[in-house]
Amino acid sequence: MTVDVLMPALSPTMEQGKLAKWLKNEGDAVKAGDVIAEIETDKATMEVEAVDEGVLARILVPGGTENVAVNTPIAVIAEEGEEVADTADHAPIARVGEEDKAETQAEAAAPAAPGQTAPQDQPGDANKAQAKAAVDAAAPAPKATSVAAQPTATVAPEVPEGTAMISMTMREALRDAMAEEMRRDPSVFVIGEEVAEYQGAYKVTQGLLQEFGAKRVVDTPITEYGFAGVGVGAAFAGLRPIVEFMTFNFSMQAIDHIVNSAAKTLYMSGGQINCPIVFRGPNGAAARVAAQHSQDYSAWYSQVPGLIVISPSNASDAKGLLKAAIRNDNPVVFLENEILYGKTSEVPALEDFVLPIGKARIARPGKDVTLVSFSIGMTYALQAAEQLAKEGIDVEVIDLRTLRPMDIATIIESVKKTGRCVAIEEGWPQCGVSAEIAMRVQQEAFDYLDAPVLRVTGKDTPMPYAANLEKLALPSVAEVVAAAKAVRYRS
């Protein structure tokens, strides 16, 4: 009886990784718990352990291979003296040796990208089917899986024509933004859980400790309320803290200082005490982390006067806007997205690329329907636009980029042209960002509307854990397509 060792997932959102090296050779005897290989993602390095006793009969993926999809068989373990066929189709048993962090679900289940319309309720072995779907989805040309629909769409209008572009992940873009601002201004520092020694829970602060030292890259205890307040006090006294929340779910512990102390003090002091601070971290649903780790705070924070709220959808905007946020004299809530961290897009190769806060971006021009979204919502919007284009519907897609102050003018201008509007967000519907957009559009462009404004949102439930339910809870491309057709009175 042989068993396959599969490429393990290191985190809920990992789709692929590098098989860094093998620590055992073909023919070596192994026993359960032996470390046989090391794998890497841009976030972490992990050990792969054998889960059974036997002989490492075959190494299927050589050390140093990049972009190995999760669940790909990487080796075969056989019983002593057993013959191993060249093609292995055995039960998947590989495990991750060590937990990356509390959130890690080491299961080899499919970290299917939201919006991916995989078939549900399949008969037979659901796990196997899902695992296969994941392999299929992630295996071919891995680079192309990163929001392929928008090579031109990510270029900010602010970037001069002819600017050289560099491909990078949003994670790298965010890190570069922080590093550049820290070089520029000694009063900028980063503070949060695991930002320094660990290199960031999501590796967004990778390398900052090495360059800037422990004074400016400060690991905190698990104490969100406290370190948010410490950040605010330091900002009152003139420093420029970047406060990282491991996820914005944990910012609820700290929301008192974000709202009561950071947002209100300039007003309450008659303009004397400003609070130049950035609260940043991943926001919204990741994958399979369920209700307490999957909430979108866009609407919460964008309600508060005194805050600026930014939520970029791609690496370029992330970089230009985070640099702007750090330089801004106000408290900025900077909502990132874990699923987008690993996505690659083009970032202008400019020495100092800073984008204006409060300006939306037309990600795709069109004349028939206006789709408005932000952050990961843009993934649905742009994919829907592609699909609708094939059906002859010319969609304009607006990426808000900044939620507060909201660039209503750009939306209104578009709606005056198209007469139809759909707003898309992963957050909950009631009092959501899309609710605000719908209200403002009916107020300011009522006479131009040919249909009621529709919206596609996260469902009005806590986030479920089960893969099929999670998919249902999130918006989908199909829902966006249906809404776009509905505002055109087509089906």
Binding site: Y225, G233, L266, Y267, S269, I273, N274, P305
Partner: protein
């Protein structure tokens, strides 16, 4: 408790003497706060001051003693019972009073009120309406001091009620971990609104509240300005030398209600009377000054001057204009 131990508590074995000048400074500064607060109470009754108004009467020795130990540049941060701290920080009484009245000449242009006032010039960082919030904010101010290495110390005040808030301990932990130059001063006036300390705190010796973080703590008679000053000297020197935070529990007493709308049914009139008569922080200094040969007349002159400053402040507050309606929309963003 202060009254049970006859005004002298542990942690202050000997009372360090003041020079006559120091006694006079303490007398003048405490009296200004007392007269200011009496006037604020009156104006509240007249409807000039609205909302919540928390008077500091009875607790004057705490902030004045700490101020006497502080150096220029050291910062003050406190909660909503903040008028005394502002005056001690050197903020102008008329602009504080105008803010209480919601007038345009106030420190916050009338937009903050009694509980939310600040002065960057006076290194006064609020004025915070959320119970417990001063602890991490004051620690953050200290973080900036340590970051810059400028030798300043953050003087952070909150009440014994706030000392049961979780964020206070989060701040203690980080302050100790990073050796931040912050003195935490718990003003234990025994009543968190209407809840007497023993009904709210499992450990009523609040100087021990930093022990889990190895923060040195001292419980002192906060009605004796000399003891407060001497303890603050020690604490500030400890912080300035880079040893990290220090915790002072100053046992004190507020004569008035929690806020102006407090009927104070939770304590007896006799208890309040006894504190006023036997432990009043200003009266203690007055008696010593007289014993030292200072004339009643000179002290009356100081009092008259305080009354004059306060009367002018009240006049200014009442005659000043309300904020321009356009101010509604200013100072939302920098």
């Amino acid at each position: 408790m202060v009254e049970e131990s006859g005004g002298v508590t542990k942690g202050a074995p000997t009372v360090p003497p003041f020079t006559r000048d120091q006694e006079l400074t303490a007398f003048r500064d405490m009296l200004l706060i007392r007269r200011f607060e009496e006037k604020a109470g009156q104006l509240y009754g007249m409807g000039v001051i609205g909302g919540f108004c928390h008077l500091y009467i009875g607790q004057e020795a705490v902030v004045v003693g700490v101020k006497m130990a502080a150096r220029d540049g050291d910062q003050f941060t406190t909660s909503y019972r903040d008028h005394g701290h502002m005056l001690a920080s050197g903020m102008e009484p008329r602009r504080v009073m105008a803010e209480l009245a919601g007038k345009r000449g106030g420190y916050s242009k009338g937009k903050g009120g009694s509980m939310h006032m600040f002065s960057r010039d006076a290194n006064f960082y609020g004025g915070h309406g959320i119970v417990g919030a001063p602890a991490p904010i004051g620690a953050g101010v200290a973080f900036a001091n340590a970051y810059r290495g400028d030798g300043r110390v953050s003087l952070t005040f909150f009440g014994e009620g706030a000392s049961n808030q979780g964020q206070v301990y989060e701040a203690f932990n980080m302050a100790a971990l990073w050796k931040l130059p912050v003195v935490f001063i718990v003003e234990n006036n025994r009543y968190a609104m209407g809840t007497e300390i023993s009904r709210a705190s499992a450990q009523i010796d609040l100087s021990k509240r930093g022990a889990a973080f190895a923060i040195p703590g001292k419980q002192i008679d906060g009605m004796d300005v000399r003891i407060v000053k001497a303890t603050a000297d020690e604490a500030i020197a400890w912080c300035r030398a880079g040893n990290g935070p220090y915790l002072i529990e100053a046992q004190t007493y507020r004569y008035r209600g929690h806020s102006m709308s407090d009927p104070a049914k939770y304590r007896s009139k006799e208890e309040v009377q006894k504190m006023r008569e036997e432990h009043d922080p200003i009266e203690q200094v007055r008696i010593r000054l007289i014993a030292d040969g200072v004339s009643e007349e000179e002290l009356k002159k100081i009092d008259a001057n305080a009354r004059k400053i306060v009367a002018e402040a009240a006049d200014f507050a009442m005659s000043d204009k309300e904020p321009d309606p356009a101010e509604l929309w200013t100072d939302v963003l920098a």
